[in-house]
Symmetry: C2
Subunit: 490 residues, 2 copies
């Protein structure tokens, strides 16, 4: 078989080989007919993200069932210089799992075996294709839970979660996902199987290689198995949504909650009034917790602990102090798990609502907590200055206040390049100037690679490129993602 050249192309053409019918025959010999998707209609959901922002033209999806199959598929693609896009649940928000052209899509969906659960240590080992919600359901009767929770839990896969270091609503309590990952099995670009599948909580034996794959969005290897520390399932959970008249008192409430709720505080989620109203208007079935005048904020507080009596006492004391100090002027405390789910549903439906009807521009950024909401105001001001009035582009903010992770959404009637030009690079410049991060939890993907240099110095980008070359010398893994430029072999 001829080896295609894989050099930088001055004409901007794609430097990889397109998979031929013969290549697809090879894939078939490895994964069987049931492990292939080639029908044009069936390919559509693999070639597009759920927001319909990015799309590719891949003509084949390969769904291996075992690590050995992943290895053989990659070895073939490596030898032939065929580019490969690893894809999990395809719930990403930055185009990281969508082909840029006609790459082969390697889906981890069938790598969905639960390998082991160590009850004494609380360590779960499973295939990359396990759906997050299914893992949590597996752990529930065993008294444990997954240390992450996000809106896409019913679809996203743990391998994709790990590859993007996914955030969500439990980071405040359990830390970043990378802190819970104890071990990984990864297949490198050339098919080498890298066994880093440790299950020990402590392991200081040289460079922690697995950290490189966590958040690499499939550009350094394909995660095939994950060992993850699972915390004991909290036996007492309480949820409240409180109304704060302005952002200054939101900050006071946050400080008070940290003191009064201490170690049981598990989530502090913020929604501005427009975020709540958008969810209410577009998602029938949500129960309105309170009236929220323009400019006010809803703060969702959650505690997770081991003693209901103690936890209720702490939440009660917090509310007494917050109302007495006039930090909060309205609120709802869930009386049972069903009401708690209703309150969480509002928060979870904000991004769903933003994606319903019209077009949205989404930004996921870290900002210092005192300046958490400033960016939303800056964007609104910019829209006014540029006469992009509210019927054309409306900005709202919500997100994980506890981690300094703001989600800024801009909803428009339709795709609007003028709005986009008003937003980019403005939003990223603002965030970098404020000492934040242009991607808090969603990753880089296709969306932010061009902006990475705003935040990272050339020294850091050079090391990233050096690592990419060392791990994937032909650059076949997820080209056009994460790195500002694709380093390729000479």
């Amino acid at each position: 078989m001829a080896v295609a050249r894989n050099l930088p192309r001055e004409d901007g053409a794609f430097g990889f080989t397109s998979a031929t019918a013969e290549d697809i025959d090879v894939f078939r010999s490895i994964v069987g007919e049931e492990g292939l998707v080639t029908d044009a209609e069936d390919l559509v959901p693999y070639n597009t993200d759920w927001m319909k922002k990015w799309s590719g033209s891949s003509r084949v999806v390969v769904l291996p069932k075992t690590t050995v199959q992943v290895s053989r598929v990659l070895a073939h693609c490596h030898a032939r210089a065929i580019a490969v896009v690893p894809q999990g649940g395809n719930t990403g928000l930055v185009g990281g799992s969508i082909p840029t052209r006609d790459e082969v899509i390697l889906s981890t969906s069938r790598l969905n075996e639960i390998v082991a659960f160590d009850a004494a240590g609380g360590v779960l080992t499973c295939g990359a294709g396990c759906v997050l919600e299914a893992l949590d359901a597996y752990l529930t009767p065993r008294g444990h839970c997954v240390p992450l929770d996000l809106g896409a839990k019913g679809t996203c896969q743990i391998g994709g979660n790990v590859s993007t270091n996914a955030g969500g609503v439990r980071v405040m309590r359990y830390g970043a996902l990378r802190a819970s990952v104890l071990g990984l099995e990864v297949v490198l670009a050339d098919g080498t199987v890298l066994d880093l599948l440790r299950t020990n909580r402590k392991d200081n034996t040289g460079y922690d290689l697995k950290q490189l794959f966590i958040g690499a969005e499939g550009t350094l290897g394909v995660v095939t198995k994950v060992a993850i520390a699972t915390p004991p399932r909290p036996t007492a959970v309480s949820v409240a949504i409180l109304k704060c008249p302005n952002f200054d008192v939101v900050l006071q409430l946050f400080a008070l909650a940290k003191t009064a709720l201490g170690e049981i505080l598990s989530a502090v989620e913020l929604m501005d009034s427009l975020a709540v109203e958008t969810a209410m208007a577009r998602c029938p079935g949500l129960k309105r917790p309170m009236e929220l005048e323009d400019g006010a904020f809803a703060v969702l507080l959650e505690t997770s602990g081991s003693c209901e009596e103690h936890d209720k006492a702490k939440m009660g004391a917090l509310l007494d102090r917050a109302f007495a100090a006039e930090i909060v002027d309205d609120g709802v405390i869930a009386q049972d798990m069903s009401q708690a789910a209703d309150l969480w549903a509002i928060r979870e439906h904000v991004p769903v609502a933003a994606a319903t009807g019209g077009y949205q521009y989404k930004y996921d950024v870290s900002v210092p907590i005192p300046r958490f909401y400033e960016l939303v105001r800056a964007v609104r001001r910019r829209f006014q200055e540029l006469s992009l009035a509210e019927d054309r582009a409306a900005a709202f903010g919500y997100g994980h206040l506890g981690d300094g992770n703001l989600h800024l959404n801009v909803v428009c009637a339709r795709k609007d390049d003028e709005v986009l030009r008003a937003l980019e690079p403005f939003v990223f410049d603002w965030v970098v100037a404020a000492g934040g991060s242009i991607s808090a939890e969603h990753g880089v993907g296709q969306h932010k690679r061009a902006f990475l240099g705003l935040q990272k110095g050339p020294e850091a980008l050079a090391l990233m490129a050096a690592i990419k070359r060392a791990f994937d010398p032909r650059g076949i893994l997820n080209p056009g993602k994460v790195l500002p430029d694709d380093p390729v072999s000479q």
Copy 2:
């Protein structure tokens, strides 16, 4: 200046240039006379570890005061192929900060500035040379604490802690140190300053480069600044030492403590009777909490929380259940912070006692929790089989049960090669076969590099070597440490 060759030497000689008087003049021009140590007597403590297991013959210690000085020193050493050993508080236990020959020692001791503390976010930014205890003292009046605590806190430096991903007694509560490190400033081998000094809790912008330096023991770069997330200081701490008659009930007590103490359980430390008796015999001033017959265990439990009333109720309930179930048959609960310190002092003096008089062999390993104590028994059995009776070599076990991190110490009257041959590779083979890690928290250093291949596959070792070559192509940083072989440039 001539550039020395830096190739693998078949004669086993050191492939680096020795620093000459001219080189020392260059260092003097960078750091001044006050930043140099060249006097033979003054060099001794830098050339030896505190256990006196490893020693080097460095003739110069350079103590830069700024990052720029670190950069200039390294650039010179890189150009001249002079090997460099980064050294913090020199409290390591595997020879990682001790020269193997006459490398230049680069001490971080004078990089000890506190750069910033962000009270809203709880983020501390400081120089690598800050002593851990000094940082905790700085944070105390600010209502925060460092997320790690270890016996060497009065001497060890945060840069060394980060470079070794140091463990200690707070891992159960706050996770591994790497989970708390938000940002680093690192100087690479050639003097390049790498600014990764982020302070955001969430930052998913490509490969998390800082993770490579955490635990690299100075082989990939010199950490010069650290930004670390500091948790709120617990306002209620309680400590108890309980006696368990055998290891099976220790495991029952651990399970019960996790349930009853939940999120406030902050430490579960185990000591066998010989560990306690060794501390009592060799460290005057310790207060005996209880009689501990041969074969019994002392378990130190600590809770750290935000509400003294609730926390005391939880600890009381645990003790009632433990005594009622006859899991525990004696114990002491500290009534105040002074008594709590007395109980911790016993645990902290076990390693000190082992280092007092005679000679010790120390092993720091991860093992699955149900098999936590089995290794100690296996070593004792082996000593008996080899007729290395107890007056010649006595093994005891203690450590962080909550993290599966056993410390196995063997005390001898003197250095005893026969005992060493009985222990190595036996201990490492046993740990690997049990699915553990041959280094839980102490790192690899000089001690364990030859054994790394027992635990890591050739694929992982090859990637480690590739990273080393990419970051330090001439191999000048801490040669003879961590990696089984020193990869050098061609």
